[in-house]
């Protein structure tokens, strides 16, 4: 019983923490990007302000929309939040690792995407349809690469369950197998693709022909939009955490001691920041690809992942 409560508490804590951190990450990236372009950029807390503002607004919905439109953002949000409980962040154990591993994680995110894309079709606006279509397309292309990348490390650690996996990696100690770098590169590309970053998508634009994620959620306003934005930010953080867990687990606390946790927290923040920098650099040094060039990018990551698998196990 107690450990059940413990689990629940842990889950709540972790998801709450990530939820809290997510807007920060987004703003940080914006800020760094601006700096790279010699702009001032938003204040560091802008993300929170946006959210509270949006949550404060009345919700405006299309006449043609049905309950699916309302359900969409909520399911998306809930799925992403639920996903956070499957990933170890500070401790080498995911709160809900009893629920399942990588496959469940991927499935959960897919569930969120499904909900949002469906909802996007509900207003009858051509943008919603366009966004949904493109978002599902890119997701579909990214899926196999993602899976292969995850398989590689899962097979290395001998488990698909993230908790067990991270523990396994930690026990093995820091390994610098070339395959790790290949897999990392592959998954980084997927991170970009899944989180709608340049060169795949441009979060900053609302130019109708180029936007993908933004087009999908174009009709949303007020609290609905807030949920979507928040969830997307969370999703990005989640992916980064996942990469961190898989490729640089060093520093994660093996036991629930305050000191270790603190270290883990710092380590985690640092690693995520590194990834954020990488993303920023990628965004500012690349131009957005045409939609039909994206498959090439993704296929590169697929190739990398498969190569990693091959050189690791043959």
């Amino acid at each position: 019983m107690t450990d059940a409560l413990y689990t629940v508490g842990l889950a709540l804590l972790q998801s709450a923490g990530l939820l809290a951190a997510a807007p920060l990450l987004k703003t940080v990236i914006k800020k760094m990007k601006a700096r790279l372009q010699n702009r001032q950029g938003p204040p560091i807390l802008q993300g929170y302000r946006d959210l509270s503002k949006l949550l404060g607004k009345e919700s405006v919905r299309s006449e043609t929309a049905s309950w699916v439109y309302v359900a969409g953002p909520r399911v998306y949000f809930a799925a992403t939040v639920a996903a956070t409980t499957l990933v170890p962040v500070l401790m080498a154990a995911a709160p809900l690792e009893a629920a399942g591993g990588i496959l469940l994680l991927v499935g959960t995110l897919a569930l969120g995407r499904f909900a949002l894309a469906t909802a996007a079709l509900d207003t009858g606006s051509p943008f919603g349809g366009m966004g949904a279509s493109r978002d599902m397309t890119i997701a579909a292309l990214a899926e196999p690469a993602l899976m292969l990348g995850l398989f590689t490390s899962a097979l290395a650690a001998g488990s698909m369950n993230l908790g067990v996996l991270v523990r396994g990696l930690l026990q093995q100690g820091p390994s610098f197998h070339p395959s790790d770098f290949l897999a990392l590169a592959g998954l980084f590309i997927i991170l970009i693709a899944e989180t709608g970053r340049i060169p795949v998508d441009n979060p900053a634009t609302h130019l109708e022909l180029t936007m993908i994620h933004e087009a999908m959620v174009l009709e949303y306003a007020g609290p609905d939009l807030a949920l979507v934005e928040w969830a997307s930010a969370l999703k990005e953080l989640l992916y980064m955490t996942l990469l961190v867990d898989l490729f640089m687990p060093a520093g994660i606390a093996m036991r629930a001691a305050p000191g270790a946790i603190l270290v883990a927290l710092l380590a985690w923040a640092g690693k995520v920041f590194v990834l954020a920098v990488a993303v920023t650099v990628a965004e500012s040094t690349n131009a957005k690809l045409r939609l039909f060039r994206v498959p090439e990018l993704v296929s590169i990551s697929l190739g990398l992942a498969f190569l990693a698998l091959a050189i690791r196990f043959l």
Binding site: A82, T85, G107, R113, G129, S133, M136, T137, G158, L314
Partner: protein
């Protein structure tokens, strides 16, 4: 009289019921209403009986056998045996057949003209009876008998609306292809019978009857024979024609259980009937499975006829099933009994799950077609407001088939993934690379399926109606909604308690030769687990927990977004300045356009755009856009084949050109030849 005695009486009883039903139906031809009632009532009753028997067998784990009939004339004894495997398929059949029959009570009333009710009702019962016998057959002749009967009855059902040339063509194509398949089966089984000197399956499929090249030949024969029914690419061409042509509830049966007849054959004979499979067999299965899955879903993506779309997705799921089976065969070939058990369990589990959600989807499609009078997605839209329940159930089915967690599609695909990964972990050499590749392709398939069904559901049920029919649509009667509700509920239940299914399957797989299911394959009814070579398990999943977590997320979202006194404002959708109506909505064709372009190599799309302008081409009155994808297999494989046969037949005409002199000449030539052959003194 013990329970097993009762069970033993079950199948014959069910068949008797069916026979009686058919006769009654034929007798009541003139009175459609009564006819419908009798036919479907009888069918439900019979299905109930067989399902019970199946459950008894699965639970008790002991097979039931008996004799159906003795055909005095040819001295053939038609016996049956319900092994756990047969029981599994029988159960799947019953699980779908009963709701479908109930649904048909309402559906036939609208969709089937009175004079044909008898035909359809009788055909339905014959088909179900034949299927039951196919699954239960224990002897070559009775199997082939039922197999043929199944084909014929289905063909009759497909050809019900025989005024339309499309359904005639579909029925004929189906008939021809399955008959060729049956031919392969006849040859295969009779060769086996000759080799084993017996006609009963246990002797025939004991696994050490044929060896060497004969074995390979038989594998090919059986693969062709059963593959046609299973609808795997490249033997699939009949499927997307035939399934839509039949009345929707029949399509549901065809997609949900008719193809499982093929799967059953593949499992029973190809995988476990010919001895330990060769490595190349497993590879072949995995390849064919992957191919079917990918191409199936890709073709499904571009369909605008909702029933065709579902038919193609059936091909996809058949592919997934075969993929799992192939992994199992490969594991068997390498002697990993436990792994093989997991893989086979995965594929059998998907048989069940696919039957449930595909049945559900087809029933939903049937309601939609009935309400709107069209199967064209482009003419639908906004149905969720007009038929809320059908919409909800269809959504559940769509999410299940997209392999999303909390629903059953995810469960079986999860197990398949597990099997593939473990296969990688435990097979040697280059062969192992097939597993992660298969996994990646499976992932792609799932994601594409999600895209496909976002499109299917979103375009047909959401936003504004695109046609008068859609605008005028009304919700179906309760008798048609209840079965859908049942199936939708099963989707959720099977998704939340996959462990229960897997535990049942552990019993089933244990009955198959060479499989050693690990006890830890199942963990509780709530979830399931696979195992690793190491002590800690490879992975496990408990969907219910995730469900709980999501509930938490939902409550938080609700809390965060609820504000006192904030009214929800309803405004028209922004139409980019112009006014927003159905014509500016995103179409299904447009939705799948990006994928169409990306997978150009597969689709070979052709498009023509014609602009009708009066003043100048820059001010078009009307732009007509036509786009089509190339039916590769039809065009490059089956077309030439058929034409070739007909051409050859045409050539033969000269033999009977009407000239008596030619006819006499044949005799002369024959005589001379034989005289020369006989020759002189011996």
């Amino acid at each position: 009289m013990s329970i097993s005695d009762v069970a033993a009486a079950g199948l014959p009883a069910a068949l008797v019921i069916r026979l009686a039903t058919v006769t009654a139906t034929a007798a009541l031809t003139r009175r459609a209403g009564a006819c419908r009632g009798v036919a479907l009532g009888g069918s439900i009753l019979a299905s109930a009986v067989t399902t019970t028997v199946a459950v008894i067998v699965i639970v008790s784990g002991r097979a039931i056998d008996g004799v159906l009939v003795r055909h005095a004339a040819s001295g053939i004894v038609l016996s049956y045996a319900i092994t756990p495997l047969s029981a599994w398929f029988l159960m799947v059949l019953g699980l779908v057949a009963m709701p479908v029959a109930l649904y048909s009570v309402g559906y036939f009333a609208h969709a089937v003209t009175a004079p044909r009710t008898a035909l359809v009702g009788a055909g339905l019962n014959v088909l179900l009876g034949a299927l039951e016998v196919v699954f239960a057959a224990d002897e070559v002749i009775v199997f082939l008998f039922a197999w043929e009967l199944m084909t014929l009855s289905t063909a009759a059902l497909v050809a019900v609306e025989h005024e339309s040339s499309a359904s005639r063509r579909a029925a004929y194509l189906y008939l021809v292809m399955s008959h060729v398949g049956t031919g392969c089966l006849v040859a295969g089984f009779l060769i086996l019978a000759a080799a084993s000197g017996s006609q009963s399956f246990p002797a025939l499929l004991s696994g050490h009857v044929v060896f060497g090249p004969t074995r390979e030949l038989l594998f090919v024969l059986f693969f062709l024979g059963f593959g046609v029914k299973a609808g795997v690419i490249p033997l699939h061409v009949w499927l997307p024609e035939a399934h839509p042509a039949a009345p929707s509830s029949v399509s549901a049966l065809m997609s949900a259980v008719l193809i499982t007849a093929g799967i059953y054959g593949l499992v029973r004979v190809c995988a476990f009937g010919l001895g330990v499979p060769e490595v190349r067999w497993g590879l072949a299965f995995m390849f064919i499975g992957t191919l079917s899955a990918i191409l199936g879903v890709l073709y499904a993506l571009t369909q605008t006829d909702i029933k065709r779309l579902l038919a193609y997705s059936t091909i996809e799921n058949a592919g997934i099933i075969v993929l799992g089976l192939g992994a199992g065969m490969l594991a068997l070939a390498y002697g990993h009994g436990a792994l093989a058990a997991l893989a086979v369990a995965a594929s059998l589990m998907h048989v069940l799950n696919h039957a449930v959600f595909k049945g559900l989807l087809f029933l939903g499609a049937g309601s939609v077609v009935m309400a709107t009078g069209t199967r064209e997605i482009e003419r639908l839209g906004g149905l969720l407001r007009r038929m809320p329940w059908t919409g909800l159930f269809f959504l559940v089915g769509a999410m299940a088939i997209s392999g999303l967690p909390l629903l059953n599609g995810f469960a079986s695909e999860w197990v398949t993934f597990q099997a593939l990964l473990l296969g990688f972990a435990s097979t040697p050499g280059l062969v192992r690379l097939n597993f992660p590749l298969g996994g990646a392709m499976l992932a792609l398939t799932t994601a594409l399926a999600a895209a496909c069904f976002v499109r299917a559901f979103g375009i047909s049920f959401l936003a504004l109606p695109r046609s008068h029919g859609a605008a005028e649509a009304h919700e179906s009667p309760a008798v048609m909604l209840v079965p859908q509700a049942f199936l939708a509920a099963s989707c959720v239940a099977l998704g939340l308690f996959p462990g229960a299914v897997l535990r049942t399957l552990r019993e089933v797989t244990r009955s198959l030769p060479g499989l050693q299911p690990r006890p830890e394959m199942v963990r509780g009814a709530m979830g399931m687990t696979s195992w690793a070579t190491r002590p800690e398990s490879f992975d496990h999943v408990v969907p219910a927990l995730l469900g709980a977590a999501m509930l938490g997320g939902l409550t938080f979202a609700a809390w965060a977004t609820v504000r006192t006194g904030a009214a929800v404002r309803r405004v028209p959708t922004w139409g980019c300045g112009g006014e927003q109506d159905a014509r500016t909505e995103y179409t299904a064709t447009a939705f799948s356009k990006p994928l169409l372009m990306i997978f150009r190599a597969v689709y070979r799309p052709t498009r023509d755009v014609e602009t009708l302008a009066e003043v100048s081409p820059y001010f078009p009155q009307e732009v007509r856009y036509r786009s089509a994808i190339e039916p590769t297999f039809e065009r490059y494989v089956y077309g030439p084949l058929g034409r070739g046969v007909l051409w050859a037949a045409g050539r033969m005409k000269v033999l009977q050109a009407g000239s008596l002199h030619a006819y006499l000449a044949y005799v002369l030539v024959l005589g001379v030849l034989i005289l020369i052959w006989l020759g002189g003194p011996m």
